[in-house]
């Protein structure tokens, strides 16, 4: 009976997912307490409903039946039904408090991950400076007329090592968000003005039976089941605007060696293949597959949240689509247009575009594309110069320009003067 109930309330009864820093089983602790409360509720509910139904039937008004005189109160009974519930809920309080405190205290040896939240994407920076380079569609819906995607582009995959404590330190660049991993039974609100943290120890990278349960699409399900690790949803649980429901991610628990290897690969993404000026380093090329600069830009688009608002296929989004955008006439709010006079010292439109893209990434509010809301967060400090150059190259690529233009380089644009549009 208990098992059956547990399976109804928790998908497939998966309780053995994380440890507390003190070695106790965190998810199990929560589930166990949940089941205790559930049983208290069921028993209480039956104890209330059975006499209610029975008396409502037995003493129903009918010819010849009158109410009978009974005591109007009974002190002993009334004290009992205050004291007994008090004891029952006191137990809940203490166990709940204990479990809560255990989940709050991080181990000193915890793997430290920094989470940055913005409308509407999560990003994680790992201890070696790497950021997630992988993403997935986690719930494609197959219909008769083909595959239908969710509204977001892909969601990022974040990795954590198996059987080692991890500590997430979280901050937001705009509004409140809440980092929620249902399988880990944990969530914490994310604020723009202070850091919050949560910690747990994932204990299982195995469990392939459940690895694929995230994916409605058979291909993804098979891939997940082929030893990539165990996947869990990440949601945003604090309402944060238009695409609140699209602000998601996947947490993947990997065996230690896989984890180290993947992190190394992800750190490589924009340091090893391409030189700072965008040219390809032949020596590095010998080691790894070459990645043209525009591909780095594509990678940024997919993995740094750009895709949440800027589509790459011409579809509508909260911001202008990047498809064919480069080189078109851009009218700013207030009437001015992007041209070689927009910024001082621009020799041609390519220069102006490079500067415009860079400024838009670092100081999004400086110039607003007419017809779009001023709502993009700044990426200052989050993208390297080379990644920004990559974005420009990707925009050129999407506009069908394949000739290589070296970025103008030079100093980053000064912060726009106060009051400028």
């Amino acid at each position: 009976m208990n098992d059956l109930l547990h399976k109804i309330w928790f998908k497939a009864g998966n309780s053995d997912l994380t440890l507390n820093p003190d070695g106790s089983m965190q998810t199990f602790g929560v589930d166990w307490l949940f089941m205790y409360i559930l049983w208290v509720c069921i028993i209480s509910f039956v104890l209330l409903m059975v006499p209610m139904s029975w008396w409502a039937f037995k003493y129903r008004r009918r010819p010849g039946h009158v109410q009978q005189r009974t005591p109007n109160h009974n002190t002993a009974l009334e004290v009992t039904w205050v004291v007994v519930p008090l004891i029952v809920v006191t137990v809940m309080f203490f166990w709940g408090f204990k479990g809560y405190m255990r989940a709050q205290l991080a181990s000193a040896s915890a793997e430290s991950l920094n989470v940055s939240a913005k409308k509407w994407a999560w990003s994680v920076t790992y201890a070696n400076g790497a950021q997630s380079a992988e993403s997935t569609y986690f719930d494609q819906v197959a219909l008769d007329n083909g595959v239908i995607r969710r509204g977001n582009e892909k969601v990022p995959v974040f990795i954590v090592p198996e059987k080692r404590p991890v500590k997430f330190t979280l901050s937001s660049v705009d509004v409140l968000h809440s980092f929620y991993i249902p399988d880990m039974r944990i969530k914490i609100d994310v604020f723009p003005n202070r850091l919050t943290s949560l910690t747990f120890t994932p204990i299982s990278a195995a469990g392939q039976d459940q690895a694929g349960s995230l994916y409605a699409d058979a291909k993804l399900r098979d891939a997940a089941a082929k030893g990539m690790g165990r996947d869990h949803y990440i949601f945003c649980a604090e309402y944060c605007g238009s695409n609140h429901s699209e602000m998601a991610g996947v947490l993947r628990v990997l065996p230690e060696d896989e984890y180290i290897k993947t992190l190394g690969e992800w750190a490589d993404v924009d340091t090893n293949y391409v030189n700072a000026d965008g040219s390809i380093d032949p020596k590095k090329q010998a080691d790894k597959q070459a990645m043209p600069l525009w591909q780095l830009g594509q990678w940024v688009h997919q993995n740094r949240g750009c895709a949440q608002c800027h589509t790459a296929d011409g579809g509508k989004g909260s911001g202008p689509s990047w498809k064919g955008y480069y080189g078109t006439e851009v009218a700013f709010e207030g009437g001015s247009k992007l041209d070689t006079n927009t910024y001082p010292g621009m020799k041609n439109m390519d220069d102006a575009w490079a500067q415009y893209v860079r400024e838009s990434i670092l100081y999004p509010a400086a110039k607003i594309h007419g017809g779009y809301a001023n709502q993009m967060p700044s990426y200052a400090g989050q993208l390297s110069d080379k990644q920004i150059a990559g974005v420009t190259a990707y925009l050129r690529h999407l506009a069908g320009k394949t000739d290589s233009v070296a970025p103008t380089g030079g100093a980053a644009p000064a912060a726009p003067a106060a009051g400028s549009k």
């Binding site: 039904w81 723009p192 579809g315």
Partner: protein, 599 residues
């Protein structure tokens, strides 16, 4: 056998116009309209509140149906009927795409605005004023044996203030609506809507409605203190009055806090005074503290009136004195008091450990007086004479739903479990079981019980019960699946969701249609009753409080022909025969033969 009162003596035979029903129209239509618009009669004001609140309930309900409709599919709707009759397959875009949204963010925005509208209307325009302003206004003076509330003009003013507040809310919705959620959490609420006016209008609406709430509460407190009929001590009052009294205390004490908070929000938005927005040196969690310092006590402003109605329903339809009268009365006050110190349980994921621990402990404490009430109501059934009419079915429905609502609160008060359940559909289901399964169910039950008294017409019992079963089953179908998907991890306020939640969302949406059917049955039943229902006697259910024993159905303009003198308690069914104008039409059991009154 005790006598009732001496008020009936000479009450008939006067042809003074004050002996006419308060519903009697004036000579011309305009005179009638002006009479209602300028009335200081608490009964007319109560009815005007009732009509406006039911209208708002309809609007909020339509928004809820739209929300449920959007969630019928995880993400995209496949088929859209075009205007020319051809069917086009739509791949990008949600159900609301039909309403003209151009892309995902736009259709999400539409969804966000509609669930915000649903929350704002249901909280500020419906549930907070629902019972006190309509049934409370109508029945508090009648139950106390008074001619009117203490400040009749203030009473009319608070209705007009309510109208003005509603106007701002609807104006805000009509010019585009807000997407802040009814909680207005900062800094989102100060950043969204760059034109300012939509959000400012909505905030202004909640601010103005607060005044209506405070004035009504103040009026009731003074009425209860000063206008009780001769012979009615505090513990001779019907429990409905006790519930209303507790409600009014909270309204008067807590509502100013939300007023101040909302003003600060407007100041920050328009004048850039940094209070809640971290970019200006404010703290967003401060807003949450201010907001819930009002909004948690207000949860009890919403549920206490439901409990107040329950005590009357159970007593009248079981013909028993409510078991443990004093415990029920004092639990109303205990709830009102503890309600002020549990606000932090809305922020377990946002505040420090010590604060969370204290608020968790206090939260469990507030569960006890609520539990006491449920125990007492059920104990009242014992050896009663239970009339299973629509109002009693609603009372039993309340006990069923409110028990679930209350018990599921235990999960949320427990810290470690709440870390998982906070801001999921579990919370959504929990508070709908309490707010709707509690307050709205009791409200509809009370409406059925008092309908004959208010309008002098009986409703149709058969259709009343059909309506009850549709509402009761529809409610459970709508909200029980939400508990399960909440534990599975479905967050709140999502316009789209991952596949595995589809089945629960679909059940929930089907349930919402059933709920709609139930409420429509009640609506038509009531309209039919007004048009062609049989005339109601003064005391169709055999109640013993003054509105049944001493007032006509519908009451006369001045309520009573003489000041009632109270000679028995409101629940002394064992000793007193309720008077009836037409004996035998609504047969009641004979009084108990045995002698002395219980004291």
């Amino acid at each position: 056998m005790a006598s009732i009162t001496d008020t009936k003596v000479g009450s008939h035979g006067h042809d003074h116009h004050h002996d006419e029903s308060f519903l009697t129209p004036k000579s011309t239509m305009w005179a009638t309209i002006i009479d209602w618009a300028t009335t200081v009669d608490h009964k007319k004001i109560g009815l005007m509140y009732l009509v406006t609140i039911l209208f708002m309930f309809l609007l909020g309900g339509l928004a809820a149906l739209a929300v449920r409709l959007e969630l019928l599919e995880p993400t995209r709707t496949v088929q859209t009927m075009l205007a020319d009759g051809s069917v086009k397959t739509v791949i990008e875009g949600q159900l609301f795409t039909v309403a003209g949204a151009a892309n995902v963010a736009d259709s999400n925005n539409l969804y966000n605005k509609i669930f915000t509208l649903h929350g704002l209307i249901m909280v500020f325009l419906v549930i907070v004023p629902s019972v006190p302003a309509s049934l409370g206004n109508f029945f508090i003076p009648l139950m106390l044996g008074a001619k009117d509330v203490a400040f009749p003009r203030l009473n009319l003013a608070s209705w007009y203030i309510y109208l003005i507040g509603s106007f701002f809310a609807i104006a805000s919705a009509l010019v585009g609506g807000v997407d802040t959620g009814w909680t207005f959490y900062t800094p989102y609420s100060t950043m969204t809507d760059e034109g300012h006016w939509k959000v400012v209008f909505m905030i202004l609406s909640a601010f103005i409605l607060g005044f209506s709430s405070i004035l009504t509460g103040l009026n009731f407190i003074v009425t209860v203190h000063k206008l009780r009929a001769p012979g009615m001590g505090w513990f001779d009052m019907p429990l409905f009055i006790w519930g209303m009294y507790g409600t009014s205390l909270i309204q008067v004490l807590a509502t100013p806090v939300i007023g101040i908070t909302l003003l600060l929000l407007v100041f920050e938005r328009l004048f850039h005074i940094g209070i809640f927005d971290p970019r200006m040196g404010g703290d967003p969690v401060l807003f949450q503290h201010f907001f819930w310092f009002y909004s948690h006590p207000v949860v009890y402003v919403m549920i206490l009136p439901g409990m107040a109605i329950m005590s009357e329903l159970i007593a009248v339809f079981c013909r028993k004195k409510v078991f443990g009268y004093r415990a029920v009365a004092f639990s109303s006050l205990a709830i009102a008091a503890i309600a002020f110190v549990v606000w932090g349980h809305h922020m377990f994921t946002a505040q420090g450990e010590v604060a969370s621990a204290i608020f968790s402990a206090l939260t469990f404490l507030v569960a006890l007086p609520s539990a006491v009430k449920v125990f007492n109501w059920i104990a009242t059934l014992y050896k009663g004479s239970i009339s299973l009419k629509t109002p009693m079915w609603y009372a039993l429905g309340f006990l069923f739903l409110f028990s679930i609502g209350g018990l599921t609160g235990l999960f949320l008060g427990t810290l470690s479990v709440d870390l998982h359940l906070h801001d999921t559909y579990f919370v959504v289901a929990h508070f709908h079981y309490v707010m709707m399964g509690g307050t709205i169910i009791a409200f509809v039950g009370g409406l059925h019980m008092w309908w004959p008294k208010m309008f002098g017409k009986m409703y149709n019992e058969f259709w009343g019960q059909i309506g009850f079963w549709l509402v009761f089953l529809g409610f459970n179908l709508t909200f029980f699946p939400q508990f399960i998907m909440g534990v599975h991890g479905m967050p709140r306020r999502y316009a789209s969701y991952v596949d595995e939640f589809t089945i629960y969302h679909q059940l929930s949406t089907y349930g919402s249609w059933m709920l709609l059917a139930g409420f429509l049955v009640h609506l038509f039943n009531f309209i039919y009753s007004l048009a062609a229902g049989p005339k109601a006697p003064p005391n169709p259910w055999g109640g013993l409080s003054l509105e049944w024993t001493d007032a006509d159905s519908p009451p006369t303009t001045h309520n009573f022909s003489h000041d009632p003198i109270v000679t028995h308690g409101p629940y002394d069914f064992d000793d007193v025969v309720p008077p009836q104008t037409k004996p035998g039409e609504f047969p009641l059991p004979a009084p108990l033969p045995a002698g002395a009154r219980a004291h």
